[in-house]
């Protein structure tokens, strides 16, 4: 069987790359993709801890949480992309460093 630490290291890598996309990319859609990667890393951890926890046949809370995360991510990405399209229609750009309307 695969050791638990392999899952955790994989999830840590996916989370870190998602964090870099969210902090360092210029395009708003790329930032949204980074957030999706981070949610996936959390899901990998949830499922891995469910599998290696006590009585995985009975305590399936980890899988239930992962399914909740998937559904919330679907809602989040729908609203986020609608916002990006709306911003693009008004400002003709989705570069985050040009969207400084609230900067004093």
């Amino acid at each position: 069987m695969v050791p638990l630490s392999w899952y955790l290291i994989l999830a840590a890598f996916v989370f870190s790359s998602g964090l870099f996309a969210a902090l360092g990319r210029r395009n708003a859609i790329a930032v949204l993709m980074g957030i999706e990667l981070m949610l996936n890393a959390a899901n990998i951890n949830l499922v891995a801890f469910w599998r290696y926890g006590v009585a995985p046949m009975e305590n399936v809370d980890g899988q239930v949480f992962a399914l909740f995360v998937i559904a919330v991510a679907a809602a989040e990405v729908a609203v986020g992309l609608a916002l990006i399209i709306s911003i693009y229609r008004n400002r003709k750009t989705v570069n985050l460093d040009e969207l400084d309307l609230l900067q004093g």
């Binding site: 870190s16 998602g18 870099f20 046949m57 559904a71 399209i85 570069n95």
Partner: protein
């Protein structure tokens, strides 16, 4: 490498499969982060989603894996591809895909990964989980948890999906 992952002398079949799937996930997420073309980023994201689904299958969470393929690969990737095409002016001719603070972001991200990996190596983890004898019983248990323990969250989630889908239609509508 050998200090990070204490490999057994001969990896089992499941471990080899896991390594391949993990490689797919890692390469996919690297493409998402580093690619200059936004569409290549979206394709890398699909690869990373498939890799995560494979990880769920290896962990014997089949239902989550199927949901991952349906929701992420089927729906979210399509949404992102449509959004890229609708904001097409941004796909080409960008001077740099990264913003001004990307250097700081890279340092913070590398530190996060190093600290997380060091903490994981310092903690003793179980090498094997308890065996799952009946996969269908697990799925039945998930279903009964959705309508018993987590029924309030389940209904709220349905409401959230309805509101967010209606709201995104209103937001993206052309007001003319």
């Amino acid at each position: 490498m050998a200090e990070l992952f204490p490999l057994p002398p001969l990896p089992t079949f499941a471990q080899v499969v896991f390594m391949g799937i993990a490689l797919l996930t890692v390469v996919g997420s690297l493409i998402v982060v580093l690619s200059r073309n936004l569409f290549h980023s979206a394709l890398g994201l699909i690869a990373a989603f498939f890799g995560a689904a494979g990880v769920y299958f290896i962990a014997e969470a089949e239902f989550v894996g199927v949901s991952q393929v349906l929701v992420y690969v089927g729906a979210i990737s399509t949404l992102i591809a449509f959004a890229i095409m609708l904001t097409r002016g941004m796909m080409f001719g960008v001077t740099s895909p990264r913003n001004r603070q990307s250097g700081t972001a890279a340092i913070i991200t590398a530190l996060t990964f190093v600290v997380l990996t060091a903490l994981m190596n310092a903690t003793p983890w179980p090498q094997a989980g308890e065996p799952i004898t009946d996969g269908e019983a697990v799925i039945a248990r998930i279903g009964s948890m959705f309508v018993n323990e987590y029924v309030v969250a389940f209904i709220l989630l349905a409401l959230l999906l309805l509101v967010s889908l209606a709201g995104s239609i209103v937001l993206a509508r052309d007001r003319k």
